[in-house]
Symmetry: none
Subunit: 194 residues, 4 copies
């Protein structure tokens, strides 16, 4: 198909996400990945220069999915608050599904000092939210003295981090809705024009 990335590349990527989700990065060998992907050991290196090269590829893939979903679900939303609710929902959803991979991506990128890549990957996400905040500012939805660039980052990171802590910290699932609501209120108060 048109949009579909090269078959083997995508297969390996997905296998990697799967296996790492299960076993963690350190316990995942290339051998595990290729076995799952159904390709030969050497084939991995035709598509990724090394094991480390997986990390940004996975991160990009996951964030791409997330952002796509968020954009799709917010197309009809007019109010910033509705958008934020979607952001929270989707972030929690993707975090639940891929919690291990997300943590390993974050730490993997951080550890390898390739944080610029991380920033580059998040750029479109940040920009999308910055744009929304600008709009909300113009509409007098949010306080005028908010620094849009920083606030966009604060919000995105905060929601992401909170969801990671929630799922990775094995919080009881029945507290989920309360927690999400609290985050929403927190954000709303933090942004709202007094």
């Amino acid at each position: 198909m048109s949009g579909s990335k090269d078959g083997k590349h995508q297969k390996i990527l997905e296998a990697a996400i799967d296996v790492i989700s299960e076993k963690g990065l350190d316990n995942t060998s290339i051998s595990d990945i290729v076995k799952k992907a159904g390709v030969a050991q050497g084939t991995f290196y035709l598509y990724f220069s090394s094991k480390k090269a997986l990390i940004p590829a996975i991160a990009e893939n996951l964030l791409g999915i997330t952002l796509e979903r968020i954009k799709e679900k917010t197309q009809t939303k007019e109010k910033l608050w509705d958008v934020l609710e979607v952001v929270i929902d989707e972030t929690f959803h993707i975090t639940k599904t891929y919690k291990d991979v997300i943590v390993f991506c974050y730490s993997g990128l951080a550890i390898e000092h390739s944080m610029e890549k991380w920033e580059a990957i998040y750029q479109p996400y940040y920009e999308w939210l910055e744009e929304l905040l600008e709009q909300a500012k113009r509409n007098n939805e949010i306080a005028a003295d908010i620094h849009v660039k920083w606030t966009a980052r604060i919000i995105i990171n905060m929601v992401e981090n909170a969801s990671e802590r929630f799922y990775i910290g094995m919080e009881q699932d029945d507290t989920l809705d309360g927690f999400k609501k609290e985050i929403f209120s927190f954000l709303k108060r933090a942004l709202l024009k007094p």
Copy 2:
């Protein structure tokens, strides 16, 4: 007591922090650590059951230092806002100093599915802030409908996460004060009784 902990235990811990700060966890071998600590290879295993056992020990150590410093500097502070400023300052400070170790602790704990330990380690920090929030609530400093337990976690994690992103993302150092102020304003608005 102050210098209480057994000399070798502490030596190894500090050496580990040092070496991991420099080289990252994956590139740090027990051999590196013991060399730096000036003890024999086998000695490591007299104090830590395995390499993985280092991670919570280091995390506890670092958070202990942070919390101690924060408590010390906030003893005289009466207003929640002053306390929060100290929290932000100290978090950024400790993150700057130990950024690599912090990331690796976080991911290390997460990856090994030993997140309960993480929660246990943070417990005193959370409790301390919960207590402060309760007080502030009673004093009508902050909104009455705030869920203290969750909010404590949200704040601590948010500040920590923001500082990590700041330093690891290699943001220009001259934006530091602006960024910290923005975080403070963000938090203040989020908590303030409207």
Copy 3:
């Protein structure tokens, strides 16, 4: 004919010599060679049955060039001593240009226990010198008790080996002439009718 050999065959051979000169045999992959030669991976195997099959081919090629040049330059020489000077000059010249390849050919052939090939390759060179020595004997230029077959080999190998050591051992280039002269004198004394 001159450029006779099939284009691709020759291209691969030359690429191989080039790359191996630069990187050494062990660090040279078929992939490197075909890239340099501008042909596909599989094409290599249309012309050479294996990587090892390169070695005698390269050796033959190089010795062929050397011998051709020597014969050309000695056509007009009548005295054995003049011929020997050319042999020394040309051997040093070719060794300088292809030192790494020469060593690897020698060792490569030796290691693979295909030394018969080596002998076969050198056969024309040996025979050519044997013939000259016979002549010189008949002309009373050299001692009568010299064993022509062995001496031919001794001379050729000695000059070759000396030049290898010279260039590979990174001797100062300004000692070159002195060294060549010493070899010449050595040989002359060794052969000269007393």
Copy 4:
């Protein structure tokens, strides 16, 4: 015993020489060597930093043995010619025993561009022969215009090279004495005061 090198180091070295003699360097894995030596895989790396580090160690070992034997057998010899006969005999002997290892050492060192090491290893051998040639010069045994330093190298290399070619080229063994005699005559004529 006293002079005996550290047990494991020597064991590994000897095993390496053995296995490489049989299979050649490229076909010899560390695994083969340690199996033969009766030590663990990792133990190899306690004594040699890498596979390549074996080469100079082996070369030194072999040349050490050779030189020791030559010195021993020439203690009572007064005439240079007698010494040269021993040199020829011993060189052929050691070459016969270790032909494959010798070739791989030579090429290995050459290939790795560590020819300085080669020179360093040969230094004592060269010096020993230089001294003898000086003496012979003073005694009017050999021509006065001989350049001692170069000639020592020419002789040693020539004899070595000839013996390699002889054994590696699988010459008939019954020609051995004739060939050695021819080398001796060749050398004698090359050196003798006319």
